[in-house]
Symmetry: C2
Subunit: 191 residues, 2 copies
DNA sequence: GGTCGTATAGTCGGTTCCGACTAATAGGGA
DNA sequence: TCCCTATTAGTCGGAACCGACTATACGACC
């Protein structure tokens, strides 16, 4: 099995939208923002148009019409292809089934935590915990908000997940800070 | 405060090593591998030399000698500068204190979970849970291993963190799969 | 004494990604 | 009526990133 032709997850988001109905690139971006998906996908004008082009090149999507309004440049409206639908589901399935190794910045930093010295490390972890607590509150508000509007839980399921992940990270940060303060996490000289 | 000149976390790893002692690029990579840091930092030959160059350009490190062995090309040995040490600590501190928004692939996939349909989604989540369980075991072995060799816990603290994060993800995956199977997570028609 | 695998050390060209910048229109207020 | 701002829509050049490829040395094994 050759590796997937497109790896950028923004492509997944765009494909997902086009399964609903045809759109032009800018509309895809604004629709994603409306639905709070801009926290899940990095939407950058440059990447947006690059990605649309890549999707078209591989025939996962195709232009269906070009609309001209006033004398502005034409907007090209795209729709998914049958190939696109298949790739979308296969890709999605794989992303859920198989964890891929990623390199989050926090893990990188933690691996050199020693260099901060015990005091500063504990301080920093406690500050992070406060930031995380705020984000969790934000997620809770967003969830209450949309479910309150009658939207099904499944539409915000990824927010439930990141909330859970943040909570775990917060717990770890607090616990580790406490261990440092209590001396139960010994600090070698080497740092 | 202008944004950091270098964002690639591999640069953080390299700087961290050079604080111990001067090295040439290839040695940095192999040292990181010896210490299991290749799961925390993406070490790619291309990025390695690019990053070293960038660090040198900004005077965070500087060449201290060029060694020639046999008739192979010269190896340039680098050391950190005082500026480099300062940037390292400041950067580290910030990375720990302030969570930065990242875009993990799993979150992207979960946000379209609906498209898989309840059966397949639950299947996929359960398979992921099994993979995660294996990784957790692996982390436990690595931890027992190195602590058994007398290394201080702090040297593997990032492994403790990712283990914790994986466990949280596993719990969520299992719980969500169960909710889907039991029907307590309703599946709208739209998908 | 040839050769086969592995460790050492790095190059290079191509994609991908980013974000500052451009530009037109609509709406609202002084 | 004129200006200001927000929204719509997209371009472009460069930085970052990747990974396949090159090439030498060394020990082991037959």
């Amino acid at each position: 099995m050759p590796p997937r032709k497109i790896r950028n997850t923004l492509a997944l988001a765009l494909l997902g939208l086009l399964l609903e109905r045809p759109m032009h690139p800018y509309e895809m971006a604004s629709t994603l923002r409306e639905r709070y998906k801009d926290t899940t996908f990095k939407i950058n004008p440059g990447s947006l148009y690059d990605t649309v082009e890549a999707l078209a090149k591989h025939r996962w999507i195709e232009p269906v019409e070009t609309v001209r309004e006033g004398n502005r440049p034409e907007r090209t409206v795209y729709a998914h292809t049958e190939l696109g639908r298949q790739e979308f589901v296969a890709w999605l399935d794989e992303l859920v089934r198989v964890p891929v190794t990623e390199y989050p910045k926090f893990v990188a930093a933690v691996s050199y935590l020693g260099a901060l010295g015990p005091e500063r490390a504990a301080d920093a972890l406690e500050e992070r915990a406060r930031h995380l607590a705020e984000r969790i509150e934000g997620a809770d508000t967003a969830l209450a908000d949309t479910v309150g509007k009658g939207a099904p839980r499944l539409f915000m399921i990824e927010v439930e997940f990141v909330r859970h992940a943040w909570q775990a990270e917060l717990d770890w940060a607090r616990r580790t800070a406490a261990e440092i303060r209590s001396g139960s996490l010994p600090w070698p000289e080497t740092f």
